[in-house]
């Protein structure tokens, strides 16, 4: 028996956009593929590490809350090139 996640489909879409924008998450052609889910989890972990959150690789409330804070639009990964 586990708590029901409060994360909605909209939240997942928002998170994916955030990771694309700020952590260089690239789109997988087949969104249901295992590789795509691994990539998302890896980028979530990167983001959680950067912000000092608990690294779970999953979209939890704390991570989502951090994503919604006002911020600078420059990617946290170096994109200068």
């Amino acid at each position: 028996c586990v708590p029901v996640s409060k994360v909605t489909v909209q939240d997942e879409g928002f998170a994916k956009g955030y990771l694309k924008r700020f952590f260089n998450l690239t789109e997988e052609k087949d969104p249901l593929s295992r590789k795509g889910a691994d990539r998302m989890s890896k980028k979530l972990s990167e983001m959680q590490k950067f912000f000092g959150l608990r690294i779970t690789g999953t979209l939890d409330d704390n991570t989502l809350e951090m994503m919604k804070k006002p911020r600078c639009g420059v990617a946290d990964e170096n994109i200068a090139r």
Partner: protein, 387 residues
């Protein structure tokens, strides 16, 4: 801190920035110009960089306010979320800073986003800094309000920008000059970095200590160490860079919690500051505060919140000042060693932190319980400086 890949930076020390064509309606044009100027000054203070404003043509740092899609493949997102972005040093769009005009920018209010803070962060990118993981750093990617009047560039950012450009070689003065260039009217702001002593190498004796809006300021000679809840390590700077109209060193300081003003004492004068601004008619003489004319200087001052009085120390005695009545209490001065037993005969600096009083003498200080008139602990001054 971190820098962009390949250590991108400007290969010159004079960087140009543009006049602003589309001002945000949230602030007056003067407020926008002032916010931008001060945001660049943040970086000029600690590097050899000089910023020159161009009134026409293309500048290294082009500054604009825009909404949603604005021609750079990084559309803004409406209110909140992304506030601004800037590009690392390079030709064309490199160095440019764009501000999301769907945000409510402010001059200094905590309601909305302080343009000075947002711009100072973006100009860090314009000069070659990437985001920092240090939460206290200006280059941390999330916005957090700080009082722009008391802002000091955190050490993480100082180290970052100096890794690219080096430190300001020109000593400890701050100058602002106005001139012109072939491109049109220009404003050149040059600010020079302090040479900061290493306080951790020997026991430190404080000249004065005060609080200001929950933060602490430790004074020594012409420097101060600024401790805030958001930074584990106090930031060091010149007193003059924080309070431009303050004396170069101070004897005593305290915060009046009723007004939020800071009072600085030096010799037979004292100054009162609201934020960084000295109030009109200051400095005043100590006799205007209520001291007899025989008092040449104040050694230390502290406001004791539990009794709503300010204690002021002169040699081996102390006075009590009633902030409500704005006058000295009767029955003073009293001898320190008799009425505040356990702290010795003289006090160099005093402050209140989390309900406890601290009296500093030499390199040591005493944590003190005022109501019980009892010394609780003795500790070294440098412990407050992250040594």
């Amino acid at each position: 801190y971190s820098t962009f890949g390949d250590g991108l930076k400007w290969s010159k020390n004079t960087v140009t920035y543009s006049r602003i064509v589309d001002y945000t309606p949230d602030l007056s044009q003067a407020e926008v110009d002032d916010s931008i100027r001060r945001a660049l000054e943040v970086w000029a203070k600690v590097t050899p960089l000089t910023f020159t404003k161009l009134t026409s043509g293309t500048a290294d740092i082009m500054i604009s306010f825009a909404r949603l899609s604005h021609g750079d493949n990084y559309p803004f997102d409406g209110p909140d979320g992304t506030l601004a972005h800037a590009f690392a040093p390079s030709p064309d769009i490199g160095g440019d800073a764009h501000f999301d005009d769907d945000e409510t920018f402010t001059f200094r209010s905590s309601t909305g986003y302080v343009l000075f803070l947002v711009a100072a962060h973006e100009f860090g990118h314009s000069l070659g800094l990437s985001h920092s993981e240090d939460r206290s750093a200006l280059m941390y990617p999330l916005y957090s309000y700080k009082d722009p009047d008391t802002f000091v560039l955190p050490q993480d950012d100082v180290r970052g920008i100096q890794s690219l450009y080096g430190s300001n070689p020109s000593g400890d003065t701050t100058t602002t000059t106005t001139g012109s260039s072939p491109s049109g009217d220009t404003t050149t702001t040059t600010t020079q970095a302090p040479t900061i002593p290493d306080v951790c190498s020997s026991p430190v004796e404080f000249d004065a200590v005060t609080t200001l809006k929950g933060e602490m300021f430790f004074f020594k000679d012409s420097y101060l160490w600024h401790s805030s809840s958001q930074s584990s390590t106090p930031q060091k700077s010149l007193i003059s860079s924080f309070w431009p109209n303050a004396p170069t060193s101070v004897d005593a300081a305290y915060e009046n919690p009723g007004t939020g003003n800071v009072l600085l004492f030096k010799g037979n004068q004292y100054w009162q500051f609201r934020g960084k601004t000295v109030l009109p008619d200051y400095p005043k003489r100590l006799s205007d505060f209520g001291f007899p004319s025989s008092v040449p200087k104040v050694d230390a001052a502290v406001h004791v919140s539990s009794i709503s009085r300010t204690l002021l120390f002169v040699n081996n005695k102390y006075w009590s000042y009633n902030e409500g009545w704005r006058r000295m209490d009767r029955g003073y001065p009293k001898f320190i060693h008799r009425h505040l037993p356990g702290i010795g005969h003289r006090v160099d600096a005093a402050f209140e932190n989390r309900g406890q009083l601290y009296f500093s003498s030499g390199s040591r200080q005493t944590e003190y319980h005022y109501q019980r008139r009892r010394a609780l602990h003795t500790l070294m001054n440098y412990l407050w400086l992250g040594c």
